[in-house]
């Protein structure tokens, strides 16, 4: 499989069809891989793909990042299904054009939840929760795909909800609140969750605004809660579930629990799944005559 991808990447670079190929290469230790930007055809041998390839590469396509300002006209990117959701969402949100991107789709059997959990193979004990119930193991939007693409039904909700969300939702409201109060005590507002998110694309993040400071910059409870709740709300109907925010958090706070829950609500309320359509606008800014109105009392 990876041979086919390498060959295609080589061809693209040799023909000058793309300026750069973004993919994965071996990392600093055997459990890790690292994102790599390949500009020379001979370097394509460095490309790899296996369950250790956790990073969400579409992050680098976000306009907010310098990489897109290097004057590259066309970028090829290796995409596992969930990352392609992010790419599609970026296009739907006008942050990227479809023809600027060449998607090298890879078949994916799941990735590990964290490099530390890698023990040489992928199994139920170390599989990322987003991979359970994944409907894009064969990706949905590609320019190149090694082998045949089977017909997959993607009409149903994706991803089983992670157990942690379900457990939280079973708690009484005050217990749930207590959980967050203790968890958020550890947050010191490094904004790793924001920096790693492919969908945080504002030029100035609301948390950096000063006239006025809607979100208190201090890392006390008020500042932390208002940050995380705003972040969750800003991603409703947009989060494509890569889980990077939780993985990036140095304090081990599961911030994507909010996003997962919101994803559920959006799917239940509007049968909408972000990252599957290049055109559809997310439900918080659109209105359809058939939309449920039962929450308006």
């Amino acid at each position: 499989m990876i041979e086919a991808i390498r060959n295609q990447a080589r061809l693209l670079l040799e023909n000058g069809d793309v300026d750069v190929v973004i993919g994965y290469a071996e990392g600093s230790d055997p459990s890790r891989t690292t994102p790599i930007f390949i500009r020379k055809a001979e370097d394509v041998e460095k490309l790899i793909y296996d369950p250790r390839c956790i990073n969400s590469l579409p992050l680098y396509l976000n306009k907010r990042h310098e990489y897109t300002r290097k004057g590259w006209k066309k970028t090829a990117i290796i995409g596992k299904g969930c990352d392609i959701r992010a790419i599609v969402q970026l296009i739907a949100e006008n942050q990227l054009k479809r023809d600027e991107i060449y998607i090298l789709g890879v078949p994916c059997e799941g990735v590990v939840s964290h490099p530390e959990k890698w023990d040489g193979s992928l199994h139920d004990g170390n599989r990322a929760s987003k991979c359970i119930g994944c409907d894009v193991m064969t990706p949905h939007e590609t320019d190149f795909f090694p082998g045949d693409k089977p017909d997959v039904d993607r009409s149903t909700p994706y991803e089983a909800t992670s157990k942690n969300v379900a457990t939280l939702m079973e708690l009484e409201l005050d217990k749930r609140f207590a959980f967050w109060r203790t968890d958020f005590d550890r947050c010191f507002k490094c904004y790793a969750c924001r920096e790693v998110c492919p969908h945080c694309s504002c030029n100035t993040c609301i948390t950096d605004e000063t006239t006025p400071s809607w979100i208190d910059p201090a890392a006390h409870k008020k500042g932390v809660f208002s940050w995380h709740l705003t972040r969750a709300m800003h991603l409703v109907g947009r989060c494509t579930g890569c889980g990077e925010c939780t993985r990036a958090c140095p304090m081990g706070i599961q911030v994507d629990l909010f996003n997962q829950r919101m994803k559920e609500v959006v799917q239940e309320s509007y049968s909408y799944k972000p990252g599957y359509s290049l055109e559809d606008k997310h439900p918080l800014i659109t209105y359809k005559v058939d939309d449920r109105e039962d929450f308006i009392k």
């Binding site: 100035t204 609301i206 605004e209 606008k281």
Partner: protein
């Protein structure tokens, strides 16, 4: 340092009853920046306003807060007063301590504390208010009337007579609406067609009125004074300009289908005008039935048409026209499918496209045992009409016999939310009385019974009309009907007389249901296209139930006739003329002043996600390219057209990057307001 004046109003006792206004004024005088306070009985009165103006001038106030009723009531009053006193009107804010405080609390202590908070919030907010200037906008002096029933006709004629260019969009092939279906009208029993058709002809001939028959309003953009309508002229397959209305085509058409105008009682050709007096007299081809269009068979009409005006290739045509005001007059329908309860039947074409949940509940489960001779009021009108399918002889639908006994049932579907709607359909008492008379006049030896709940005849000459019906032979029985069943050729009506407490059985030849008037089946979509409010039944909502009964919730859009609530003809016509007066008032100026409270984009911050473009209900936001100093493309950004923006603020909430500010409601203002209320939540 700000020089703020605070004016606390007692509103007679309206506010003072639950708010210690003196205490509020004292508290305000202690706030930073406040240099003047007043506590007065009626701030909006002439002396109150004088006091307000005097304080501005004498104390040199640079911002004012009026703690009083809702800004909806008097914001304009005080802003104008401030302007007269030389203060920018947008440096005046209202703290609503009446609707949002005194009226909803009865504990004076609570009311006083809350009033202090509300006013304090405004004091902090106003420190960030900037002086704003109003915009001058052009005004298109052309009116659009949607719906060509009697309401639309009346409004259009009134406007045209005052010199206004008017367009009517009517979705049926002819003007007329439901009134054209009526035989004679209460309370005077004059012939409906005779009083209506001259008006239709007048519309047709008026040089200032353009009728778009067989057309629909597809999209509306813009705002008061500057609307743009997208009108879909449905293909008639007949060339308007050539057609002389000679009738060769519809007389020769060999195919037919149920006539909508005749309530399915008879058939009409596939190329048709709905009724002989139709305006315009240009026929249309029903493309869902025409074999030529469906499978290229027939085409007879084209052969017989002298001026050669049949064109089977005609397509829908889209017209974009600018208007300054809109009158909505889309009328009503009779509640479909109330027949189940009575075992009745309904011609298939009457099934409305969109049913409300309540109507759906009332749908017939099956057609088994249907009673063809149970009809509704409009069907009866057609039977009684001289131009109707029976030429005015009242004959029952099943076998064409003249019914000897007719039972009229009032309040079918009305005043009962379990079986229909909870409101009183209001005109049914009257038209039922009329029906009994029309029946008695046509069938002298006949017997008519009316089952009713209450008689509601509040109108000029209305009670007298009911008495007349009873004098002429109708027997009124106070009680409900529980069942209608077939008994041989007759219908057994099982009812009760609640005055005598006895069961009453009548064997009737025909039963007429006085079915509730309900909004058109698509009224919700129409409201959404127009951007106006509607109530839970689907009637369009007026701006204020008492003081603004003809204005919709959207500026420049007015409501006439039965689309707003159940109405008879006199009320419909009165309301239609009222809308015309409103439009004339709007058109009396040459340009309009617009509030400067519009959105503005910080284009450097904008990340061009176009979420604002998607949400703006007024299509006020454009995508623009920003250039560098050499004219090279630099970035995309959103731009709000201040002429189109209505200041609704939806874009503000959609913009995650907070790149849009709404003038008069800036982030700084709102933030100051919220934090003044303060309190740490966690």
């Amino acid at each position: 340092m700000a020089k703020i004046g605070v004016f606390v109003c007692q509103c007679g006792n309206n506010i003072a009853r639950t708010v210690d206004t003196a205490e509020v004024a004292k508290y305000c005088s202690e706030q930073d920046g406040v240099v003047h306070v007043e506590d007065y009985k009626f701030m909006c009165s002439a002396p109150g306003q004088e006091m307000f103006k005097k304080a501005i001038k004498e104390k040199g106030l640079d911002a004012c807060i009026v703690s009083a009723c809702s800004p909806k009531m008097h914001e304009a009053t005080f802003r104008n007063a401030a302007e007269a006193a030389g203060l920018n009107p947008f440096k005046v804010e209202i703290a609503n301590i009446r609707e949002q405080c005194s009226w909803v609390h009865d504990d004076k202590e609570v009311g006083t504390v809350k009033s202090k908070d509300l006013t304090k919030m405004m004091i902090e907010r106003i420190k960030f208010n900037k002086p704003l200037e109003r915009y001058v906008m052009p005004l298109t002096k052309r009116a659009l009337v949607v719906g060509g029933g009697i309401a639309g006709i009346q409004a259009a004629l009134d406007l045209a007579q005052a010199g206004v260019d008017v367009h009517i969009v009517e979705r049926e092939p002819s003007l007329g609406g439901n009134m054209a279906r009526l035989s004679e009208t209460f309370p005077t029993l004059d012939c409906s067609q005779c009083i209506m058709t001259p008006r239709m002809v007048e519309v047709q001939n008026h040089p200032l009125i353009t009728v778009h028959a067989y057309a629909e309003l597809e999209q509306l953009s813009g705002f008061i004074g500057n609307f743009r309508a997208r009108i879909r002229q449905k293909a008639k397959f007949v060339i308007d300009d050539l057609c002389t209305g000679c009738g060769e085509c519809w007389e020769k058409c060999p195919f037919s289908t149920e006539s909508e105008f005749e309530m399915g009682l008879v058939k009409r050709p596939i190329i048709y005008i709905p009724f002989p007096q139709a305006v315009p007299t240009v026929p249309v081809i029903d493309k869902t039935e025409c074999p030529k269009i469906l499978k290229d068979k027939c085409g007879l009409c084209a052969d017989v048409c002298g001026p050669d005006c049949i064109d089977f290739t005609q397509q829908d045509e889209i017209k974009e026209i600018d208007f300054g005001a809109i009158i909505v007059a889309t009328g009503f329908q009779l509640m479909p499918n109330v027949y189940r309860e009575y075992g009745g039947w309904r011609p298939p074409h009457m099934t409305p496209k969109k049913l409300t949940a309540k109507m759906r509940k009332a749908l017939p489960r099956s057609d088994a045992g249907r009673l063809v001779d149970v009809i509704n009021g409009l069907e009866f009108e057609r039977l009684a009409s001289a131009s109707g399918p029976t030429g005015g002889q009242i004959r029952r639908p099943s076998d064409g016999k003249i019914p000897e006994v007719v039972v009229f049932i009032a309040c079918v579907g009305s005043r009962d939310c379990n079986k229909g709607v909870e409101y009183c359909s209001k005109i049914c008492c009257m038209y039922t009385a009329k029906h009994t008379m029309l029946y008695q006049h046509a069938v002298h030896h006949g017997k008519s019974y009316v089952f009713y709940m209450d008689i509601r005849a509040g109108g000029k000459g209305y009670e007298e009309f009911i008495n007349r019906a009873q004098d002429e032979g109708a027997q009124y029985i106070r009680g409900r009907v529980s069942r209608l069943t077939k008994k041989g050729e007759k219908i057994l009506v099982k009812g009760a007389d609640t005055l005598t407490g006895q069961a009453v059985d009548v064997e009737a030849d025909m039963v007429v249901l006085a079915t509730a008037m309900v909004p058109q089946g698509d009224s919700e979509q129409v409201a959404q296209t127009l951007g106006i409010g509607y109530d839970k039944h689907g009637f369009f909502s007026e701006q204020h139930p008492k003081l603004m009964p003809v204005e919709s919730s959207t500026g420049g859009i007015f409501l006439a006739g039965a689309c707003q609530s159940v109405k008879d003809i006199p009320e419909t016509v009165a309301q239609a003329s009222a809308t015309a007066a409103k439009v004339l008032a709007l058109f009396s100026k040459d340009e309009m002043m617009r509030d400067p409270e519009v959105a503005i984009v910080d284009q450097e911050k904008c990340m061009n996600c176009w979420d604002c473009v998607t949400v703006c209900p007024y299509l006020a936001i454009d995508r623009v390219e920003l250039k560098d100093r050499n004219g090279n493309f630099r970035k995309w950004a959103a731009y709000v057209n201040p002429g189109l923006c209505q200041g609704c603020g939806i874009c503000n909430t959609a913009c995650r990057s907070k790149s849009i500010e709404l003038m008069g409601y800036t982030n700084e203002q709102v933030y100051a307001q919220i934090t003044a209320f303060g309190g740490d939540i966690i």
